[in-house]
Amino acid sequence: MTTEGSVAPASLEAGQVIDGYRLDALAHRGGMATLWNVSRVDADASSDAVLALLMKVPRLRGGEDPTAIVGFEVEQMIMPTLTGPHVPRYVAHGDFTRLPYIVMERIEGHSLRERLDAAPLPVDEVAQLGARVATALHDLHRQRVVHLDVKPSNVLLRRNADGSDGDAVLIDFGLSRHDLLPDLLEEEFELAMGTSPYMSPEQVRFVRNDPRSDLFSTGVMLYHLTTGKRPFGAPTSARGLRQRLYREPTAPRTLRADCPPWLQEVILRCLEVRPERRYQTAAQLAFDLQHPDQVVLGERASRVGSGSALGVVKRWFVSLRDSETVEGGAGGQSARSPIVLAAIDIDGAEPALLEAARDTARRLLETDAGARLACLAVMRVNRVGMDELLDADGTPRHLKLLIALRHWARPLQQALSTPAHAGRDAAARVTFHVIEAVDPATAIIDYARRNQIDHIVMGARSSGRFRRHLGSVSARVVAESDCTVTVVRAPTGAG
C-alpha cells in the first residue's frame, strides 16, 4: 500500500510503504519518537540497499509541543551535514507537510544506557567508554556541531564483527547546534534546554555555542558510571538546575574508595563550572582517558567529601566571574620578531586546506606580537613557449592571484586588528607577494633564503593533478629549506 497525502504518525503499521521505504517492524516506541526498521522497496536500485535502515518518526501532538517540532526540524537540518563513523549515516527525510521522518543507518549494537544500570563499572571500562565517547564528540565538534544532549541513551556502541563493542555513535541531534546554520531553538525558546542531570552550567544559562558543554555532560556520565550516582541529581526545577553553578559534587573517591586519583582528576575537571577550567577539546579528554599515567594530578585528584562551605562559596564565586585573567599580558611578550612566510597555492588548494593554512599562520602571528607575515603565491610559467599572462576575461593572472591572496588573508588581518593586538598596525604586519617561476619549490626556497624567513607555512600537496606533474612541492621545501617549515593538512572528516 502506498501512502498519499498527509499521514498520521499514529496510524503507521508494519507493511506500509512511505516514499519507497517499507516499514518492516516497530523497533521502539518512545515518548518523543517512534523508530521503525525499514527497507527500500526498490532495494536493487540503490546503494543503500546493503545498509540496514531505521526510520525515526517524531510523535508530534498537534502543535502542543513546539520544542518537539522545532527539535525535529533541527535534527533534519543538521543530520545531513554529518559524516563519519560516529554518527548514523543520513539517508533521507520526509517533509512536515505530509509526514516528517528521518531515514538513517541502523546501528547494530547497544546503548550506553544499558551499562548505566550496572554502574559502578570497573575503572578500565569507564575509561574505555569515556575515551570512545570523547573521540566521537571530537569528530562531531570538528564538524562544527555541539550536541548539547550527551547522555547514555544518546550514545550507541557499534558491535564489532567479533561481537565486542566498537566505536561510539552519537544519536539524537534535536537539541544540537551547528556553528554555521541558524539556531532555530535559540530563536524559539527562552528556556534552558537539555536533560537535567547532564546539562552544563552554561546551558542552564541559555548558552548554546560552547563545545565544552558536551565535555561537562560526558563528565556527568563518567561520574555516574564510576560511582553509580549522579553528581547533581536529577533536578526538576530551574532552581534545582542552578545548584550545579555553586555546589561542588561529592568527590568520586569518597563514594568509591578504589577510584584512582587520576580518574577523579579527569572527572572533576570535566565538571568544572567554568568551561575554561575543563578540558578544552574532547581530544584532550580522550587522550587522558587513554593515558592515565600522563594525567597530571592536581588539587582535584585529592579532593574529599562533598562541597564544604568554603567550596560552595568558591564555586559560586568562580561562576560569577565573566572571564579568566590572561597571564603574562602585553608586557610579557617576547621582543622577538620573526618573519613567517605563508606560501599559498591560492588557486590549486582545497578551501579546507586554505583555511587550515590561515589558522596556522594566525596562531603564529598571535603567539609573537612582533611577528610579520609574508603571503606568497607562485604563478607558474612554462619553461619554453609563450605564456598567457591574461585570463579569458582579460584580467592579468598576476593581479588575479594577488586579489585572491589578499582575500585569503583578510580574516587574519581582522584577527590582528582586535583590541588584544592594539598598538600594532595590522596592515604593516602582513605583506603580499606574487612571483613567477617555472618550479614552485625552488622559488619558495630561494625567496625564503633571500628574505631571512624564520618559518614557512604551506599546505601539503594540493591535488593529485599537480602532484603528478610536479612531485610534492612541500616535500622539497621541507628537505631543502634552511628554516622551520610547517606543512599544513586539512583536518580529516571536517564536514
Binding site: 513546539p66 526540524e73 507537510t97 546554520l181 541558524p182 532555530l184 524559539e188 589578499r406
Partner: protein, 247 residues
C-alpha cells in the same frame, strides 16, 4: 533549479562580472536581480545594458530606490552627495536605459517566492529591514514562503516560525542552509556592488529550488579598480573608500 540572487549592484562593473562568473561556476541557470542597479558606481550604462540582456533572457528584476531616483531625477529632499550621484548617473544613461529602469516592477511573485527591493509591507517606501521585528513585519505582509530582498547591504537570513517567532542569522559564505518547510524565510544576499560589512568581496546568494537550500557567497574582485574609476569620475570620495571595506 539554481537561482542566483543578486542585489545592489550599484553600477559596479567589476563586481558584476566577478559575481556572474562565480554564479556560472556554481551551475546557476537563472538570475533574480533585487534592485539598485545604478547609483554610487562608475559604470551605470554598462550595468543597465547587461541587466537588459538578462531580463530579455528571462531573469527576474525589480526596481530599487536608486533606480527610481535616477528615473525621477535629483530631488531637493536628498543629501548633497546623493543629489550629485543621481545627477551624474542620469547624465550617463540614454532614454532607452532610463525607460528600462522606469518599467521595472516593484515586486515580482513566482511560485513560493516574493522578490522585492526593500520590504513586503510597503515596497515603494523603501524602509530598511534593520532587525527581526522589521523582518517579521515583512514576512507577515506576504503569504509567500520565501522573500528575497536587497536594500540592506549586509547578508542576513531571517525566519518566522509557525508560532510567529522571528529568528535572525548572520550567514557564513559557502554553506548550504536548508530552509525548513516549517517556517517562512526572508533572505538578504547582501550587496554585490557595494558591500558594507567591512569585507570588500562582492555578496550574492544561490537558491537551490529543488533542495530548498540557500548558499551565501563572497566573491573577491578588483575593488581597487572599481574605486579608482569612481574617483576618476569625480564621484564622492566616500563612495570609493567604502569599496575597500571601510564603513
Amino acid at each position: 533549479m539554481k537561482l542566483a540572487l543578486i542585489a545592489d549592484l550599484h553600477a559596479n562593473r567589476e563586481a558584476f562580472g566577478a559575481v556572474l562568473a562565480h554564479a556560472a561556476a556554481q551551475g546557476t541557470e537563472r538570475h533574480a536581480f533585487l534592485g539598485d542597479y545604478v547609483g554610487y558606481g562608475a559604470d551605470p550604462g554598462w550595468v543597465v545594458d547587461r541587466m537588459r540582456e538578462h531580463v530579455a533572457a528571462g531573469a527576474i528584476a525589480v526596481r530599487g530606490n536608486h533606480d527610481a531616483a535616477v528615473v525621477a531625477g535629483p530631488q531637493s529632499s536628498m543629501v548633497a552627495d546623493a543629489r550629485a550621484i543621481v545627477a551624474w548617473t542620469r547624465d550617463r544613461l540614454d532614454p532607452a536605459q532610463l525607460a528600462f529602469l522606469a518599467a521595472l516592477p516593484l515586486t515580482r511573485i513566482e511560485d513560493d517566492s516574493l522578490f522585492v527591493h526593500a520590504n513586503a509591507w510597503a515596497p515603494q517606501e523603501w524602509a530598511y529591514l534593520e532587525g527581526r521585528s522589521e523582518a517579521a513585519r515583512s514576512l507577515f505582509a506576504t503569504d509567500r514562503r520565501f522573500t528575497f530582498c536587497g536594500h540592506v547591504h549586509v547578508p542576513m537570513l531571517y525566519n518566522l516560525s509557525g508560532t510567529g517567532k522571528a529568528g535572525e542569522f548572520k550567514p557564513s559564505p559557502g554553506i548550504a542552509i536548508p530552509l525548513s518547510s516549517q517556517r517562512r524565510w526572508l533572505a538578504i544576499p547582501g550587496s554585490a556592488g557595494q558591500p558594507r560589512d567591512g569585507d570588500p568581496a562582492a555578496c550574492y546568494a544561490v537558491f537551490d529550488t529543488e533542495a530548498q537550500a540557500l548558499t551565501f557567497h563572497r566573491v573577491p574582485y578588483d575593488h581597487a579598480a572599481a574605486a579608482a574609476k569612481v574617483r576618476a569620475a569625480g564621484l564622492p570620495e566616500r563612495v570609493a573608500e567604502r569599496l575597500g571595506g571601510d564603513h
